[in-house]
């Protein structure tokens, strides 16, 4: 942690919003992108990232500076995302992409398909969409490590600190997660075909 970050943290701990905004500037994009890949929805990722920074602001007084500030922010980010995913599991949130089943059979959702969602505008590429969908099918644990390691590029050591897991656990979890993702993507044979990806 450099002197400037430390000074900003101290000011932010006193409630200084401007100092807090300066402090989080470098983390905002990454936090939003982690949320986007974990949750899989542009609008919700916006809300989640906002929630992350509010919680960081609220609990800054409890930040003991034993870990790096960045690690602490990313830990809160993954925790907020996991909380949201668990909440959804309980509520059975219907994805806007899914069809709704009724007693009379399957009915199409009301949202117009030809109106591109912000997410679709941001990511037109078919392959990327398929990869995102595959990541969304992973378990919470696997999704977390795939997002942190293969999308965000964190080291094994950093992931161990963010998830508060022993490094050995992280290593085996990453391997299992990649195999699981490969299994999901194997259904789209063209993706793992050598000619397609390069």
């Amino acid at each position: 942690m450099n002197a400037e970050e430390k000074s900003l943290i101290n000011k932010a701990k006193c409630g200084d919003i401007e100092a807090f905004e300066q402090l989080i500037e470098v983390y905002q994009k990454k936090v939003f992108n982690i949320a986007l890949r974990m949750i899989g929805n542009y609008e919700d990722a916006n809300d989640i990232a906002q929630e992350v920074f509010i919680r960081v602001y609220r609990s800054l007084g409890g930040f003991k500076e034993q870990s790096a500030f960045s690690t602490w922010i990313y830990r809160i980010t993954t925790n907020v995302c996991l909380d949201e995913l668990r909440k959804r599991k309980n509520k059975n949130v219907v994805s806007i992409d899914e069809d709704v089943k009724s007693d009379d059979g399957e009915i199409k959702r009301q949202i117009e398909a030809n109106e591109p969602t912000p997410e679709a505008v941001a990511e037109k590429n078919y392959i990327k969409q398929v990869v995102n969908d595959a990541i969304n099918q992973l378990s919470e644990e696997h999704r977390t490590v795939i997002v942190l390691r293969d999308i965000q590029g964190f080291s094994y050591e950093e992931i161990a600190k963010i998830t508060k897991c022993p490094e050995g656990t992280v290593k085996s979890r990453i391997n299992r997660a990649r195999h699981a993702l490969k299994d999901i993507l194997s259904t789209k044979k063209e993706l793992l075909n050598e000619d397609y990806v390069k």
Partner: protein, 369 residues
Amino acid sequence: MKKCREINELMSLYIDNQLDDSACTEFEKHINACDSCREELNRLIKVIELCRNVDEIELPEGFREELHQKLVAEKEKLYKQYRGTNLLNKYVKICSTIAACLILSFFAGRFIANNYFLPAKHDESRQSAELTSMQQHDAAGAAENAALNVESFSETEEEMTFSIAVDDGNQLSGEEIPDTSRHTNANERSSGAMLLNTVPVNNKNINIKFKVNNIADAQAQIERIEEFAINNGAEISDYISPCFVEGKYDEMTKEAVDIDVTAKANVLYLKVQDDKYGEFIDLLKSNFSNLNIEVGDLETKDCTEIFDELNTQLQVLDKRIEELEKRKEVSDPDELNRLKRERKVIWDKMERLQLDSNYTFITVELRTE
């Protein structure tokens, strides 16, 4: 040679260069000899490539603005909740003090009835009366807050539970959450000190210097600035924050600090609510642009440590007062009175620190040179 299953488990470590030389050689030996493992490894590498090609998306439009508004609201909420809980705690303290006083009065009455009149008891009753009237103002506010803030009070606890749980970072596996929060909640519910930690207690000060031609001119200007300040959202402060008087900050926990703000005729002490501060300084600058204005840096001092230390002292005093009052006969009424006076001083200091956190103090100085 290693079995395919073992090789399978080492694939990610191999891809990420986490294997040592000998393990790496053995791994490659197997891969070169085993078609199915080689294919599996290639598929895994492709999966990783696909993930790495996922684009980083820009922040949504208006993200920062939305967050800023939420942060401002959050700051306000934290402060209100804190005031609510603090006043509620204080209210409980006042109630217990009043109850203790009633019990004391009851015993005092019995002593008087039995002609065991002790002059010291008068002091005690007077002290109680003083305390009670002094606290009536707070008690009224507290009662109101107590009624209004029952919901926000429990919210505060929930939030604290959350922030502690986050700091522990133990939320990752689903099974851990309920246990962690229950444990933390039970531990922290009784601790006032933890609640204090979330609330920013700070003091802010800024010095503004004007240049005038002579003393008579200075006094006339001071009056003009004073009038201007009052009309534009500032208040005349009858004290300046001890945090910005050399040496006084450290003394604050030890003894009462009173600063004579009337000592200098060419100095004006103002305070402005934080949200009006920027606008006020701009107005001041533009309105008095003919005077050579020098606006110093805004200094912020974190008073949380002092606040916490005062709170600790308060708890020690509460305990000692409670112990003394529990005894059937007050063996040392002078000591009890002294402790109560000490406690009042600490209450006042804490109150002042909290209230000052909402303001920016401005010292306006007019110089003739």
